[in-house]
Every structure is written in C-alpha cells, then in structure tokens.
C-alpha cells in the first residue's frame, strides 16, 4: 500500500493519504482544499470544509452497497441555485471506486462512462450504453466545498453546466457535467433505502 504524507500548505498539519487515486483532500484542521498539481501540493486558496449534519452517510462511513463493502472517503457539495446536492466518493473493498449522489435525500450510485459523448446543443433525450434517458433537469452547478479525500480537484466556486435525467422506467440515472471537453457522462441506478446498509446507522432524531 502506498502511503503519501502531505503537509497542509496553509496550516502545516500533516496528513496521511492512502488512496493513490486521491487528487484532493480537505484539511481537517483548517478546512483548506489541498490538491496535487505537477507533483506539488498546493492549497486551493479557498476554505472548502463542509459542516457535518444529520445525514445518513458521513465521511468515513463503512457499509455495504448492494453487497459491496465500501468506505465513504469524501464528499463534494454542489449548489444548483435553489438547493444542494452531495456527491459521496466511495472506495470499494475490491479497490474500485464510485460516486453516490444524494439529492434531496434520494440516493443514486453512479459510474463514469468513458468515451460517452452527449448530443451537442440542447437535447431532451440521450442514449448511453443502449439505454435511453429523458432529461429531467438542467442548470448550473457551483462547487460549495468538500471534505475528506477525493479523486478529483473540486475547488470551491468552480461552476459548470449540467444535465440530469432518468431512464423512463425510473431505474437508471444519467448525469452530464460540462466541466471538461468532452463533457463527463455518468450513469447510475436509483437506490432504495434497503440497497444501502451502514455499519453505524446512527440514531434517530432526538
């Protein structure tokens, strides 16, 4: 196992990073976003820490998602103007990783589809991997912040356009993020509560 030792450029706090895919961490002490750029550790210059709330998932949570063990390594929060959604980065026990999107407490497990290209211009439907999707929402996302370890650089304040949709049978989701060229496409499955089991589900409302 490769372990990287990094020092927060802002506050000097040490940090051990075990996941080789991690590109960004949020310092637990000062809340700064720290990322690797050309083999150097740099601070994003923005406070990125998110307050932790009464959510089902939390950073460091372990559990089982559809039979696969995972640990929630980190989270990125985005604003779409009228609300938030969170993207939890999961590291599976088999070494793979994925994203669990939580939007208004609905959960969707997503995987990036390499090579998928959405239609150009405005579209209401798209097909990915032979599955047709209908666009449900489009807008502009702004990264609010993050926590933990992430396999990408999510600098607070970064904005990009997005398109979200579902398959008509309601089982699958699609997300197109215009944060790069070509856009990044994710497909996933909508989850029901029973699909996810946490080792520590926490307590009910006080």
């Amino acid at each position: 196992m490769t372990v990287r030792e990094i020092i927060c450029p802002t506050c000097g706090a040490p940090r051990r990073v075990t996941n080789p895919g991690t590109l960004m961490v949020v310092c637990e002490f000062c809340g700064s976003a720290v990322f690797w750029d050309a083999e150097q550790v740099r601070a994003a210059g923005r406070k990125a820490a998110l307050s932790e709330g009464f959510t089902r998932l939390y950073r460091g949570a372990t559990g089982t998602l559809r039979g696969k063990r995972f640990v929630a390594e980190g989270r990125v929060r985005y604003s779409f103007g009228r609300g938030f959604w969170d993207e939890w980065h999961l590291r599976y026990a088999d070494g793979g990783d994925g994203w669990l999107t939580e939007d208004n407490h609905e959960l969707c497990v997503e995987t990036r589809v390499a090579g998928a290209t959405p239609p150009s211009g405005r579209f209401d439907k798209l097909t990915v991997g032979g599955v047709e999707f209908v666009v449900e929402e489009r807008g502009e996302a702004e990264c609010i912040g993050g926590e933990g370890e992430l396999p990408c650089v999510a600098v607070p304040g970064t904005r990009y356009a997005y398109v979200d949709g579902s398959s008509p049978d309601g089982k699958h989701s699609v997300g197109v993020e215009y944060d790069a060229s070509p856009p990044t496409v994710f497909v996933g499955d909508w989850l029901v509560a029973e699909d996810l089991t946490l080792d520590d589900e926490g307590e009910d409302w006080e």
């Binding site: 009464f54 372990t62 640990v71 009228r82 609300g83 590291r91 208004n104 407490h105 926490g202 009910d204």
Partner: protein, 539 residues
Amino acid sequence: MTAPDPPAARARPRLEPRVVTCPGCGANLKQRDEATRFVVCAYCSAHLELSDVEAKVLGGAGKPPRRLDYEVGDFFVWVGARYVVAARLVFVDAEDHGNDGSGSATVEYMLFSPRRGTLYLDHDDGEWLLSHPVHVMPRCDDPFALDEGARVETHDGERWVLDDACTSRLVYVDGALPWIARVGDRVDFATFRSVHDRSIGYEVERDSGETEFNRFRVVSRDELARAEQTKRGAPPRASDEPVDSSGAAGADDDPVMAQIVGARTTARWLRWLAGMSAVFVLLNLGLAARASGRGSVAFDRTFQPGERPVPAAVPAPQSATTAAPPSPARPDARADAGRAVDAVGPPGPVDPAEGVTPEPPEPPEPPEPPEPPEPEEVPIQGGVERLTDSFDIAAAGLVRIDLSADQLRDAWASVDLALVQEDDAVTHIVDGDLAYYDDDDFPSSGSKTDTLYLWIDDPGPHHLLVRTMGGRGESETPGDLPAPLRVKVVQAVASPGPFLLVAALIAALTVVLFLIGGASERRAARLASDEEEEPESEP
C-alpha cells in the same frame, strides 16, 4: 472474522444541530437536516435562505391561513422509520386569486427521516395522501395537457386515469426545506389514479422547468392516528403506535418510552387475543347450536293429563309398579324394566314367581290379629306409567330426548324415562324436570322444556317406559301431569355439551385477557401522563 476497517474509516461523529441566527430577530434556530436550504424563523416568521455560512432574509409571512393538523416537529412512524414534519406548505388553485389559503387548499407536510429520506403527506379535498418521489415517467409527451379522465400508462407498465390537472400557488410555508420556496411560487400538478384502485395514485409535478414524479396512496385517518406521535419526540399520544419488526422507533434509548410502548404493545396483544378468544366463544356456541339441531326424530308423542295407561302394542308390560305379569317372551326385558323403575320410583310388589325355593312347612303359628287393611292404591300417586309403541333407533350413537310442555304454567312436572332395547333388554334410565311459574314473585321463571342425552350402543327396536307426575302451584304432592307433555326421541345427534364447555372456558379466558389488557393500558396511560407533565428540554 471481519476485514479490518480501511484507513479512511472512522466512527460516526456526534452530530449537533446547526445553529442559524435569524437576521431578523436574532433567534437561534437549530437545523438538524444539513441539507436545509430554506427555513422559516419560528419566532418572527422571516423566510431565510441559508447558504453554508450565512442566513439571508428572503421575506416574511404571517400565520398559517388555517388551522393545520400537524406542527413542525411532530413525528410520524412509517414502516419502522421515524419521520419529522420538517415543513408545511399550503397551496391553492392558482386561478383562485382571492384565496389566501383560508378557503379550499391543499396542505402538504414534508416528512424527513435521515435514514429513509423524504415523504410527503398531503391533505387534499378531505383525503390524506402519502407520497414518495419516483423517477418513472408517463408514456405521453405532456401529462399536463391531458383532459380529465384520460388514460396514461407509465413506463413500469402501470395504467392510470387523470384525476386532476391544475396549477397551484404556494400561499404559505414554514419549517425547513432543502430548496428555496417562495410564497407565490406556481407548481403544475397532474394527478392520476390507478385504473384498478383509486387509493393508489401517481403525480407529475412541474416546478420552474423541473419535472418530478411521485407515487402516492390514500392513508386512512386511523392509520394516520397510529403513525403520528407528539411533538419533538415526546411519548406517543393515546393512539396506538404501530408495531413493526424493528420495534417502536425512538423507544430504544428512552426507558420510560420503552415502558409505555411495552405496556401498549402488551395491551394491544391482549386485546387482540381477547378478541380472538371471543371469536372462538362464538364459534363454539355456533357449533353447539349446530349440534343441537342435528338428528332425526325416531319417536314423537304427546302425553295428555288424565291419560291412563293403555296397553302397549309391545307385549311384555315391564312395569313393576303395576305388578304386571312378566312376559315369557322377554323375561330379561321385564327384569330390566323392573330395575329401571326401581331406580326411579317406589318399589313394586315382589313377584312370587321369581325363583323362591319353597322351604319345608313349619308348624302353624297362632293366628295373629288381622292387620288393618292397607289403603287402596291410587295409580296417580308416585306417577302414571305408560308404555310406548316400539320405534327403531337405526344406529349406535347419541340420542337426545326432548321434553316440552308448552301449556305448563304455575306448575311442575317430573318425568322418569326408561329406554329399553327390545332385543336384549338393555335399558337406559334418565329423568327430567319441568317447572314454569309466572307470577308477581317469579315472573317467567323456570322452563317448559328439558333435554336429556343417552348414548346407545345397540341399535334396533326400542320402546319407552314413561312415568310422569306433576303438581300445580306450590303443591309438593305428586299428582297427574298438569299439562300435555311432549316426548321426542331424536337419534344420531351431536352433543353440544363439549362445545358449550369449551365456550365457557374460553369466555372466562376472554374476560381475564380483557382485564389484564385494561390494566396494561391504564399503566401506559399513567406513564404517558407522567411523561407529558415533564417540561420539554428544547424550546
């Protein structure tokens, strides 16, 4: 053996509610759902937009336009998960410009469970609807353009009929929401009902260009009452809390609440058991009634008062009281009948023909003075005996003898019966009593009927030896029958006795269960009352 936790794993942090200071009044507002983006100040009703670092006032709103059934902070338990009323929204028809919500309106409660997500409880047109978001889409381009009654199929194969399509306007909101809601927001709704079951529905909602889908079901008031709890996690109201496999939510860490829930659960189970016991009582009573009605009549005859014994068609008068000569054809029957009557009446004279070996004559004794003559025997004293015609009992089994005297009034009657099998003289002896009085002291007391049961092992021809007696008023001197007496022999019957016995035992058990259940319920009510008297820890 489990795999060690990965390096990034950690224990769930203790979560404290996020405190937001209202810019309008300075009140500290606790927000437990960290996804909250919009909150209405509980003190000054200011509408606040929450960013991650600050709260911004969007505007203000007054009191709810109508009395709402539930408060923000009330709890519900659905399918084992505890949901809090996080927000309340009141919608009116967008075209009803003068309606501020005090008229016809739809009240929507947003229910949130950190474990299960969001549910919506709507009170619309007298119905309570519980809905949850789905992503299944209809097979039509624009569900909002359909006419009422139009049929639509969704992509999961369900078929629906359009119940209502309208545009609603938000006129009131409070609580906390994960999105920003503004009074005056307009939302398009298309509400469908299942073509098979109107209690199930599907809804398409369009808000600011975003389309969402929900499925809902009608919730009865009883179910709602069972699911609801008092505000801020206090003990449940008097209504029952539903029982599920996970137990009552919230009771695990509250010993008093656990006791209340336990007592209520016990009471509920005892009431259920008592109810089931009552059902079994009724069932056994029904079986007893059914048993009583079974069988076929083998003999039916009415004996009249003053009716004298008549020669029976069957030879061999077995009466011992009348000292009838024995039947040479059936000596055993005569003997049995004699024993029968011996058992129920005064002994008859000794038959000199019954095997008495004469002894040698003794010297004559001096003549004694003659005894005074015995009084003349009056047949009516000790009863009147009658020998019935022969009748067949077809099979071994239980035989019922029904005695009835419909005209009996202020009198009593006693009946001794010997049922004699004519082939082998097996005799069964039973007796019955009837008495009925109807006067000022004893209105409608006693019974004009009696029922006797016999088990017959030997089917075949039988006859009855019937001895009757009776009296009027309070006379204890036996005399003739005071009223016609009907004797009916029913064969192949079933006895209701066992069923009645079981019914009585279960009825006693039912009473005990009810009493214990009531005590448990009272204990739960007492605990709940004590708990409610304690002040809330949170304002």
